[in-house]
């Protein structure tokens, strides 16, 4: 066994986390910053943080992930990181010539108490920032929340730093996509386009972390939300914030600061969340949903009606991030699958309540936990106590899947051992079909693997 020390018996823990179902804030801030065109993320802390976050994102996307670091030494941690950040800003603009730098903090600079706004102001005052270049920032203390919190904080940082108030209303809808794949953001834009709705989407990592192989490296890829577009977000009709955890804060700020009303909706994963997304977008923009969406939707429904027998009643264990898990659990229920164990390391009371509400009718006994000690060690123990037919989660899930011999579908962050997630969306009706294909593939492969020769079926 790979996880041979995981016992069936569950002991209460209050201090120890084993095999976390989350990581810390800065990587989220870095990912969000990569969703702005011409932006160089910067990690204000020790070198290790930046190296770790770049490595994690690089392995997940198999694509270049660039970022600077303040390279703290013991000295800086004693005297403060101002000198490092000032030097870093100068050097980055001189050597790497980004349009803007997006600074996020780390547990180190947070513990020291570096005042980023003041330091950045000084950098401008001291003319260390070239004409027309920008610096945005956010605080991402690693000891608060999770990687999702960091993403949310950088979204807020983007609003703070880039959105302007022109007063001229713009007939467009802001979409904060939440922490989703570039493929998902591309699909959301496709949906808006097919609905003839002008949108302002940020962050947008489409074309930023899934760049083409052209024989030539571009440090600032063609993708990413344009600074000038983001600037207009204050003039939009409305903001759709996809995912309470990742997007709501930025939406609230747009509301407070620029009077752009917002609606928090689920990331459009699965049938019903996509229905709500499409309708919310139509409502916000005052358009009718085009008939082509009835067809798209109908195709997804058709696959479900056709294949329901392979899904119905199957028990599922799933772990990941709240904004993904909520619509995914809703989708599983629409497939008559049974969410059995649900884990997220990301804190937030609303989560368990929401999952329980969704499962109340069809899976009242669902095990759900998030936040402190809601880790994959507990998930594994739950599975040992109540086995499941399918495991959904990031690459780390494969250790459990192998030990317990459970069909496994990779979903979430990070996916370190397969390709596809950055190219094919899991959002929208089409994304729902992809999820179905993956889930059905896993379950049907298993049925065939376990079938005795007598029961081998040609047609399924």
């Amino acid at each position: 066994m790979l996880l041979r020390h995981t016992p069936t018996e569950i002991k209460e823990r209050e201090a120890l986390t084993v095999n976390p179902a989350k990581t810390c804030q800065p990587v989220g801030a870095m990912y969000a910053a990569l969703g702005v065109h011409g932006c160089l993320p910067h990690s204000h802390g020790s070198q290790g943080c930046c190296s770790y976050h770049r490595s994690a994102l690089t392995r997940h996307y198999k694509d270049p992930i660039m970022a600077g670091t303040s390279s703290f030494t013991e000295g800086s941690s004693v005297f403060g990181g101002q000198a490092n950040l000032l030097a870093a800003l100068t050097n980055m603009f001189t050597i790497y010539d980004p349009d803007l730098v997006a600074v996020h903090t780390t547990c180190l600079s947070e513990t020291i108490g570096d005042d980023i706004p003041q330091i950045v102001k000084k950098a401008f005052d001291d003319k260390k920032i070239p004409e027309g270049k920008k610096v945005i920032y956010c605080n991402t203390p690693s000891y608060v929340g999770s990687h999702i919190t960091g993403f949310a904080n950088m979204c807020t940082g983007i609003v703070k730093g880039l959105v302007e108030h022109t007063g001229v209303a713009k007939d467009q809808v802001n979409i904060l996509p939440g922490w989703v794949e570039p493929s998902d953001m591309r699909e959301m834009k496709r949906i808006a386009k097919d609905m003839n709705v002008d949108i302002c989407m940020f962050p947008d990592t489409d074309g930023a972390v899934d760049t083409p192989q052209l024989g030539e490296y571009k440090m600032y890829p063609d993708g990413g939300a344009r600074v000038e577009d983001i600037a207009t977000a204050g003039d939009s009709i409305k903001t759709l914030a996809c995912g309470k955890w990742a997007s709501e804060d930025a939406a609230k700020l747009l509301d407070r600061q620029f009077k752009v009303p917002y609606e928090t909706i689920d990331i459009p994963v699965g049938l019903e969340a996509t229905d709500r997304f499409v309708q919310a977008l139509a409502k916000a923009a005052g358009v009718k949903v085009p008939d082509s969406f009835i067809t798209e939707r109908g195709r997804l429904v058709d696959v479900i009606t056709d294949m329901s027998q392979y899904l119905h009643g199957k028990k599922v264990a799933i772990f990941g991030d709240p904004d993904q898990l909520i619509p995914m659990v809703e989708f599983l229920l629409a497939l008559d699958m049974i969410p059995t164990h649900v884990i997220s390391g990301t804190p937030g009371k609303a989560f368990t309540a929401k999952i329980q509400e969704l499962c109340a009718e069809k899976a009242p006994n669902v095990n759900v936990k998030n936040g402190a000690q809601a880790d994959m060690y507990l998930l594994h123990q739950w599975i040992k106590n109540e086995p499941v037919d399918l495991l959904l989660g990031n690459t780390y899930g494969k250790y459990i899947a192998r030990d317990e011999d459970i069909p496994f579908v990779r979903y979430g962050f990070p996916i370190l051992d397969r390709v596809g997630h950055s190219f094919f969306p899991t959002v929208g009706y089409t994304g729902g079909m992809r999820l179905l294909e993956l889930i059905l593939g896993a379950l049907m492969d298993r049925q065939e693997r376990d079938a005795p020769e007598i029961k081998t079926e040609l047609v399924m």
Binding site: K11, E74, A87, T94, I95, L108, Q213, L214, G215, E216
Partner: protein
């Protein structure tokens, strides 16, 4: 093309690179970029701070400490005291393979953390750390627990060593619990962490078990991390020769091996950078001599095995070693020949770690490939220039506060394995003890050494050299490949390996041939854009 290309003079490109930097930085980086001219016996500035904002390969002290000796050791619970990320990112991301058998302890697939929260930062984290240790014991009952300090720990004043002592007492000394002050901001790279790890290893582990080994020839292998199974292959070779490895620091390793390792008669150092301290300290404390070895490359492996046999001064052993070499080496040489049609004359660049950037040059040379430029990520001057410069290295502020553990002769157990005379005699026969000559001396003139290379520098050098292959790490991989240049990861081996020993060499030849011979590199440019074959992709001319 069988004759080597003459190396182009990189002086101009070096200037061009530096020209982009602010003057102060240009002056500093200039000292770390050396156009080799061995006549001059040049100095390679290294182990100095990375300039803030420069996009570096380097990680932190914690990474070095967790990664180097105890991370790859399977029967200790490595508990990270800090926010979740530090432990999460070090979770299974280094490919240290280990073989616990069906039932042996193995915590390496697990990730342990105190997941510090803001109130721990405000009110201190010692209480939570203690409770976490109790929960580790309650859930796992391990033989040993290591506590790794992350950035905030030092700043808020949590004393992991006291906590370790107290908890060890709480469990009646039945569990070996000790801590590491390896906060990420210490030193200038992972190297500081290696040093801190090695110190604690000597303090808390080495020498706890005096059981005399049963084998005739007993050695330790230091600085071998069993990436992709390297150590397994080396073990295979040693077994064939009848030499017993007590402890490998650290690959496929257990606490028990370390505790007993002082009973060896010779220490063999693979990665000089990460662990030469241990070799030094074990010699001082227990009288065990050490030699630098290299198992990367068929010839290198043969050479190292011969040196070891020579050390034990036993003709039977030497005969056995020759027998093994005779059985293994020809196939390796044949394999090298087999790939030459594809590899011969090709150019390589490598920027990685603290020893691989040196060792792998030999492996490429065996395929007829030339290393035009290389450098380490976290090495010191002695790794470039050789240990002879040790006395002249000035200790700067960043290194000064990394503890220098002073060890002395062990009253009872100090026992010089060879007398001064014996050592001298062996040296006359060509053996070298406590010596490492460094990368510099093996690089061709006009090749370019770059320490702690940055993204900007690498980019320009690729443009200049148009290498056929580039060796570095995951952060560089896709950047370089976007240039149409295949990148071989020398940390993770791109999930291949082993590359050490005789079998490893063959694997490496095959993998490099595969990479250079991959069709897609010639199809990168859309045909409706392609003018001439030549610009199909910038590397086409070499991979043809």
């Amino acid at each position: 093309m069988s004759e080597k290309r003459k190396l182009p003079d990189p002086s101009a490109i070096k200037e061009e690179i530096l020209a982009k930097y602010p003057p102060k930085i240009a002056r500093k980086r200039a000292k770390s970029m050396v156009v080799v001219d061995k006549e001059l016996d040049q100095e390679v500035q290294s182990n100095v701070r990375t300039i803030p904002g420069i996009i570096t390969q380097r990680g932190c002290c914690y990474a070095g400490c967790k990664g180097v000796v105890l991370g790859p050791t399977r029967d200790i619970v490595n508990l990270v005291h800090g926010p979740i990320g530090c432990s999460f990112y070090a979770w299974l991301t280094r490919r240290n393979q280990t073989d616990p058998g069906e039932t042996g302890d193995n915590y390496m697939n697990y990730c342990f953390s105190t997941d510090m929260q803001d109130d721990n930062i405000v009110f201190g984290g010692e209480k939570k750390l203690k409770q976490a240790i109790r929960e580790v014991v309650e859930n796992f009952k391990p033989k040993a627990i290591g506590i790794f300090s992350t950035c905030p720990v030092g700043l808020i004043g949590d004393d992991v060593h006291t906590v370790a002592r107290e908890m060890k007492a709480e469990f009646n000394d039945e569990i070996n619990i000790f801590g590491f002050s390896c906060e990420g901001y210490k030193g200038v790279s992972q190297s500081a962490g290696h040093h801190i790890a090695n110190n604690q290893l000597m303090r808390h582990v080495v020498g706890r078990d005096d059981t005399p080994p049963e084998a005739k020839y007993n050695v330790n292998l230091l600085g071998e991390y069993n990436i992709g199974g390297d150590a397994f292959e080396i073990d295979r070779v040693f077994e064939m020769c009848g030499i017993n490895i007590i402890g490998t620091f650290s690959g496929n390793s257990t606490m028990q091996q370390f505790e007993n390792s002082h009973m060896a008669d010779l220490n063999l150092v693979m990665c000089h950078r990460s662990i030469n301290y241990v070799a030094e300290m074990m010699e001082t404390k227990f009288g065990i001599p050490w030699m630098k070895v290299n198992f990367i490359g068929g010839e290198a492996t043969a050479k190292s095995m011969r040196k070891i046999a020579q050390y034990f001064e036993d003709d039977a052993l030497s005969a056995k070693v020759e027998e093994v070499i005779a059985a293994e080496l020809p196939a390796v040489k044949a394999a090298a020949q087999a790939v030459k049609p594809v590899t011969d004359g090709k150019l390589a660049m490598m920027f990685v770690g603290g020893s691989r950037a040196h060792h792998y040059q030999e492996l490429f040379a065996e395929m007829g490939m030339t290393t035009v430029s290389a450098g380490y990520e976290f090495a010191h001057r002695d790794d470039y220039e050789g240990r002879k410069v040790l006395p002249t290295i000035k200790v700067d502020a960043d290194s000064r506060n990394i503890e220098e553990l002073k060890v002395t002769q062990d009253e009872t157990r100090y026992n010089p394995r060879k007398s001064e005379e014996q050592l001298k005699a062996l040296e006359e026969k060509g053996l070298e003890f406590s010596e490492y000559k460094g990368m510099y001396n093996e690089m061709a003139d006009q090749s370019l050494i770059v320490d702690d290379i940055s993204h900007w520098e690498a980019d320009k050098l690729i443009e200049f050299y148009k290498p056929d292959i580039f060796c570095a790490g995951i952060k560089e991989k896709y950047v370089v490949q976007k240039w149409g240049v295949p990148l071989k990861q020398l940390h993770s081996y791109d999930y291949g390996g082993p590359y050490a020993g005789f079998e490893g060499a063959k694997n490496f030849y095959a993998d490099i041939e595969r990479m250079l011979d991959t069709s897609i590199w010639k199809k990168i440019k859309a045909p409706w854009l392609a003018k001439t074959d030549e610009d199909n992709c910038i590397c086409a001319e070499y991979v043809a």
